[in-house]
């Protein structure tokens, strides 16, 4: 018997001779943890995994070129917007991860579903929260442990925090659609319903009007969204902007620089404090010959054990909800806020060309911010143009 087992361990690797090719674009820290997970997977299944690390920049072109010439790997890690492009153009296989699907954070999983089929499994999840500078809060006579809970309160805080003579502003924002979605969502507006953009609702108008007012009427926002301006990241790092929207990826850097900051959920509007999500997903390419092994690999990465390790070593949100209770919130106090915020998050629609939508929406929103176009008119135009793109596909 013992000899038989010994023989099997020698033979098995030859029977399962599949070698999975995976392309990933993790940063240094993430890659180190990912490699450990890969080794663990190889040891437990005998499936060999060939990982190639590619830079984030340029990965789309590399993957697209590979698809066009049928040289794509079995799996790759891509972000939500890119997943939409690939799925709509039939470059991906649908994935069945069985019961495990019920354990994945629903908004993240929904962001991979197109026509009822799952085209990717999230491996990394982010969402946007409110970051605020505690030192500036204290200087303005505000309680650094009581961040604003509603947008009305937020405005009051921002007014107190703004000191234009010192160049300090209460809030700084971006103008892109993705960064504006938390405003739309928390004011109760929807982005896309039944493949139709509905950003012209009264709620959406109120949300964008609020952004415009922050800059034009209340002047608590410096115009950080203009080209060539000090952007929210830069201003927050230099303690010029007291509040900004940001994601968990920024925490480590802010700690390193030594900024005394807090993280709070998105202030509540009419609907509550809703946020938008981001992140990346593993996808399986159409040309793979090892679909079964690829699915096994994905299942391993999003398993409870892997995700606990991922969350605690990197301080990131786990994608598997079963890992939530094991997140070390003492080591990663900010994660608690993000985990809370995820209950109030809205999935991303899987679109054929999300960047094109940003591309038409942003200049028009900028016109509204500049006062060149009334908000209502701007949103009608955005809806008209986005719907033209949605119908094109």
């Amino acid at each position: 018997m013992r000899r038989f087992i010994a023989l099997m361990t020698v033979v098995i690797p030859f029977i399962v001779d599949a070698q999975l090719k995976v392309w990933v674009s993790y940063n240094d820290e993430e890659f180190a943890v990912f490699k450990q997970l890969v080794t663990a997977f190889e040891e437990s299944t005998g499936i060999e995994v060939n990982v190639q690390r590619i830079p984030f920049e340029g990965q789309e072109q590399k993957i697209l070129t590979a698809c066009a010439t049928r040289t794509a790997p079995d799996l790759a890690r891509v972000d939500c917007a890119f997943l939409g492009k690939l799925a709509h153009r039939h470059a991906l296989l649908d994935i069945d991860i069985g019961e495990l699907a019920d354990k994945i954070v629903p908004v993240a999983l929904q962001s991979c579903i197109l026509n009822g089929k799952l085209y990717g499994v999230p491996d990394q999840l982010t969402c946007v929260c409110l970051f605020y500078n505690k030192r500036l809060f204290r200087e303005a006579g505000l309680d650094p442990n009581k961040p604003p809970a509603t947008w009305a309160e937020f405005l009051k805080y921002a007014q107190k925090l703004t000191d234009r003579s010192k160049g300090i502003y209460g809030f700084a924002m971006r103008n892109t659609l993705w960064w504006t979605l938390p405003f739309f969502y928390s004011f109760g507006a929807n982005f896309i319903e039944d493949n139709t953009c509905v950003l012209n609702s009264p709620e959406a108008v109120a949300a964008l009007q609020f952004k415009v007012d922050l800059y034009r009427k209340y002047k608590v926002e410096p115009g950080a969204w203009k080209s060539g301006a000090i952007d929210p990241d830069m201003g927050f790092q230099n303690e010029k902007y007291a509040m900004v929207l940001n994601g968990p990826w920024k925490i480590k850097l802010l700690k390193t620089i030594g900024i005394d900051f807090g993280v709070a959920p998105i202030p509540a509007g009419k609907k509550g404090g809703y946020t938008t999500i981001g992140g990346t997903n593993f996808v399986i390419f159409r040309g793979t010959k090892h679909k079964h092994e690829a699915v096994e690999f994905i299942k391993f990465i999003v398993s409870k054990e892997s995700q606990i390790k991922w969350a605690n070593e990197l301080g990131q949100i786990p994608v598997n909800m079963e890992a939530f209770p094991y997140v070390d919130t003492i080591r990663h106090p900010y994660l608690k806020v993000f985990l809370y915020q995820l209950q109030y998050a809205i999935a991303r629609p899987v679109l054929a060309d999300y960047p094109a939508i940003e591309d038409v929406a942003n200049p028009i929103m900028e016109a509204a911010l500049m006062g060149e176009k009334p908000v209502k008119e701007a949103l009608e135009l955005i809806v008209y143009k986005i719907n033209a793109i949605l119908q094109e596909e």
Binding site: R53, F56, Q61, T65, T71, Q237, L253
Partner: protein, 271 residues
């Protein structure tokens, strides 16, 4: 005395302008000396200056390996392209032959289509040839350097035709004229084309990324792109990496400067 004052004024302004032109470069160096994570700070002088970015760049990745790869690709690529360009340029600048202008027009037309359009078909060819993940794949598709050829043609046209005619009268054939007359006289520009092709390969991020399927084949620009991940921009590292990456090419320029500008046989044309 007047001349000295004039010279002083000229070089005063030349120096001011030099500082302006070099300012982004200086800023790059300053940023690269700031502690990691503070690349976006508004302070001008890093406090305290640190070499940690350079250390990270050189040790964190297989930078040595990338450097060697880049050096091989860039030097062989530049050498090959320069030889081909110089030969073709000579024919276009100093010889007459059938279909000369249509041919030249076709070469130039390709230069006018943005290179991004060519990536997919070029990759398909390289793939069919089985060259994926090799130096060949990085070098050979860029051997026909139209830009360099065009530059050499234009330069060779500034070489007086009388010299070529005189040589022909002396019984020299095309090869002799090319090797003994045109190449020496174009030394400065040939060296420049070499430098530019070298620089092209040294910065050719996208193509080198696409044909490399193994991290051992990554080159310097691909390695540098690793400093940027989805959200964070590690400015200090990026600037340090940029500073390191232009080092070899700057060295080539400084040490070989007399070839670039003064030409090999400067005295050849006294007229």
């Amino acid at each position: 005395m007047v001349n000295k004052v004039k010279a002083f004024i000229i070089y005063f302004w030349l120096t001011v302008f030099l500082i302006v032109v070099l300012f982004p470069f200086i800023w790059m160096i300053i940023t690269s000396l700031k502690p990691i994570g503070t690349g976006l700070t508004l302070t001008i002088i890093p406090r305290p200056p640190t070499l940690s970015n350079y250390k990270s760049v050189l040790t964190q990745y297989k930078f040595g390996r990338y450097f060697v790869n880049s050096l091989i690709v860039a030097s062989i690529g530049a050498l090959g392209a320069t030889v081909l360009c110089t030969m073709a340029a000579f024919a276009f600048a100093k010889l007459e032959f059938p279909f000369k202008r249509p041919l030249f027009g076709m070469f130039l037309s390709v230069l006018m289509v943005p290179g991004l359009m060519f990536v997919v078909p070029q990759f398909a060819i390289v793939y069919r040839l089985g060259w994926i993940n090799t130096y060949k794949a990085m070098i050979i598709p860029h051997l026909a350097n139209v830009f360099g050829m065009f530059l050499l043609v234009q330069y060779m046209k500034t070489i007086p035709d009388e010299l070529v005619d005189a040589a022909r009268v002396d019984g020299a054939n095309n090869w002799t004229i090319f090797l003994k007359l045109i190449v020496p006289l174009s030394g400065a520009m040939i060296a420049t084309v070499f430098l530019l092709t070298f620089q092209f390969h040294w910065n050719n991020f996208l193509w080198q990324l696409i044909v490399a399927t193994d991290e051992h084949m990554y080159t310097v620009p691909v390695g540098l792109a690793m400093f940027r991940s989805a959200h964070e921009e590690l400015h200090t590292l990026k600037m340090a990496a940029s500073a390191i990456s232009i080092l070899p090419i700057t060295m080539i320029f400084i040490f070989a400067q007399r070839y670039f500008i003064e030409g090999i046989l400067r005295g050849a044309i006294k007229g």
